[in-house]
Symmetry: C2
Subunit: 243 residues, 2 copies
Amino acid sequence: MNEREFLENYDPRAFEPLAVTVDVVTLTIREGRLKVLLVERGEPPFAGRRALPGGFVRDDDLDNAARRELAEETGLLPRVHLEQLASFGDPGRDPRMRVVSVAYLAFGPSLADPVAGGDAATALWADVDAAGPLAFDHDRILAAGLERARSKLEYTPLATAFVGDEFTISELRSVYAAVWGEDLHAGNFHRKVLSVPGFVESTGATTERSSQRGGPRARLYRAGDARILHPALLRPAREEEVR
Amino acid sequence: MNEREFLENYDPRAFEPLAVTVDVVTLTIREGRLKVLLVERGEPPFAGRRALPGGFVRDDDLDNAARRELAEETGLLPRVHLEQLASFGDPGRDPRMRVVSVAYLAFGPSLADPVAGGDAATALWADVDAAGPLAFDHDRILAAGLERARSKLEYTPLATAFVGDEFTISELRSVYAAVWGEDLHAGNFHRKVLSVPGFVESTGATTERSSQRGGPRARLYRAGDARILHPALLRPAREEEVR
DNA sequence: GCAAAAGTGTTACCTGTACACCCATGC
DNA sequence: GCATGGGTGTACAGGTAACACTTTTGC
């Protein structure tokens, strides 16, 4: 291949038009259940269907594009953990043209209701088990995000991104219960969290007037400096997942 | 936003030209060491520098684009495990124009020498510790691929993708040693591999005339049907990684 | 015989799990 | 007192790590 052919091949306009978008799977916990942030599409295709918030990549890098979309379409921004999930580029995933989507995964503590803006007609928190069917291939993207979140709870302190700056071990346990969809033994969970170095550190304080019906005041903790949990908090193994 | 504005925004030609490429981190084991497949660039920018094989996304989906690149540029194809790694889209990562790269990770057993083809002037297997500096941001992509590979050896039967259809436990151990960069205790490794359900299954046969200097004939195994390893084979924890 | 590598036995230790239990508090 | 939930003790099961040891082959 000579120089001329090389540069021709390098021009994307020589190929089928191709767009790059970011779509964001934003998870939080509300009412003890895991919720995902969705928007309702106002335009075809899939008008009226729910979809993940997203938009086109412009001049900024991919991470910033995801952060911008989250802010523009929903008004959410502060204190969200954001990471890249995967890319989806099947031809035909958007009926209009070839679109490659870089999906992102975001976690945040329960905040105010989302504010619709940008392209989004309305924005809402939906239960993850009752979210679909979504527009495009967003069901698949959501499923990938959920699996990633469930897995990362095991070996990273990600759960602390779902709670406030100060939290009780019980609040942390309810995060695990909501994301994994199963209850955890309170006593063992408590001991295990405290035994992982750098996961949480005590503030010395306790909850003030507890909103609970009874019981002692729980001690308050903040996130520690560990980036990975060792030893990990493993989900109870399910037989069908092993083989 | 009305329909007209919407469609305008939807046209990628209204924005900065944007290309999508796939770049592939292909790993194998040769001479007991972990190697990565590289090509030597014939054209600027970075002419003469090594780079990951890759190319533009055309009509096929991303997975197929990665498979095609691997075949075109290197002549390798059969029996490679291929999975998406991550996407890289920083503005300026390619000095010519905006390029979003979807990186893939491939593993295969040691095969014939790669065949240069397509854009690649030459293709070669390089030691992973002596691969860089690579063109573009490929050092970063390679680092991401290595970390993914090291991590996946722990909880998936990925190591079996580095060996032939039938293999000995020792061969499998040498895969772990090469990828993790540390020796493992032969006896304990042996017992552990056999204790994980579905990791390997015996063929009943043994090695014929062993090429080794002495010792008994090793039994042969093939990959089992487990998709995840339970319990996992954890790397020895390093203190600096914990916090 | 000797060296090398496969494979096994044994033991000490460590972690996760289950379950019982105590304690502090609100009502 | 009694219910509720935070927090701890303890015993058992299972996995890990270290190390010695036996077995089988090539030279």
